[in-house]
């Protein structure tokens, strides 16, 4: 393996778990999160492997967030179609009731997992996507407002607004358990 590919391997190894978790929190689904991670890794390897190591971080995060946004758009469209086709017998088949609960886990998984993590996942998952992204990029990934704005392809002011709203919502939701 070439030195540059060893570097790429080491870089991907350093970001893959967090990237997977970001995608999992956004989608609420492990398989979709793995698909998003795969798309992001493949694109970085195919298109940007020859870039400098310093560039890989922001590039990979941008690709990942872009893939998460794509997933959201597709999912929104799918849900709209699902709701439209099932609107005739809405009372018997309420789409909200019928829709797969992506956050549901087996009793075994629930027993194994940390309750705090589950609560946090659900609280962040419930945020609008832009708020999720702004919050996770700023709080977890440690990006500056400017870098987060570049990654999210929006203005710095929007990042500040989304981040602030996310913090307030999370504060309200997690307040009882996290103090």
């Amino acid at each position: 393996m070439l030195q540059s590919h060893r570097d790429l391997d080491a870089f991907l190894a350093s970001v893959e778990k967090r990237a997977f978790r970001m995608a999992e929190i956004a989608t609420g689904n492990k398989d979709d999160a793995l698909d998003i991670l795969q798309d992001a890794m493949f694109k970085l390897a195919e298109k940007y492997a020859d870039r400098s190591i310093e560039e890989w971080g922001p590039l990979f995060t941008t690709i990942l967030q872009s893939r998460i946004r794509d997933w959201y758009r597709r999912n929104l469209l799918r849900n709209k179609f699902r709701a439209w086709f099932s609107s005739k017998d809405e009372e018997e088949n309420d789409p909200v009731q019928q829709a797969e609960d992506r956050m549901t886990r087996t009793p075994e998984q629930l027993l194994q997992s940390d309750r705090r993590i589950d609560e946090l996942d659900m609280a962040i998952h419930a945020l609008p996507l832009r708020q999720q992204q702004a919050f996770l990029l700023r709080t977890w990934e440690g990006y500056s407002v400017k870098d987060a704005a570049n990654i999210m392809k929006c203005s710095a002011g929007s990042v500040k607004t989304h981040y602030s709203r996310a913090v307030h919502t999370l504060r309200d939701k997690l307040d009882d358990h996290w103090e």
Binding site: D9, L12, K17, R18, D121
Partner: protein, 116 residues
């Protein structure tokens, strides 16, 4: 919400998120590693494709250049017309030119010499 409270909450959330990364199950970790290995393979394939492209491109350029040189060498424009050459040879010597100009006179002279 005060800045301290916000920082406290953020720190607490960050810690939990880090813990969640550490708590990923073996099956998920294995799948993530497989994806990474495939990504590196793609990067390798891209690199070798790049070199293949360079070699093929280089060969193609060389062939085109060789062909162009051969066409230049064999082109009709490069072959000097023979009459031109002859004229140059003739015109290069003033004596020869005079000979050709008076050719009819020398022929007449020769005939007269023979008759006499």
């Amino acid at each position: 919400m005060t800045k301290d409270n916000e920082n406290e909450l953020n720190e607490s959330i960050r810690q939990s998120l880090d813990e969640s990364v550490d708590a990923l199950d073996a099956n998920t970790l294995s799948k993530i590693r497989q994806i990474r290995a495939q990504a590196i393979e793609k990067a390798d394939a891209r690199k070798s494709k790049h070199w293949q492209g360079v070699v093929v491109g280089g060969l193609a350029t060389t062939c085109v250049m060789v062909l162009a040189v051969m066409m230049l060498i064999n082109s009709p424009a490069s072959i000097d017309p023979v009459p031109g050459n002859d004229l140059e040879l003739i015109s290069s010597s003033s004596d020869d030119l005079e000979l050709f100009e008076d050719l009819e006179f020398y022929e007449w002279l020769e005939q007269n010499d023979l008759q006499s």
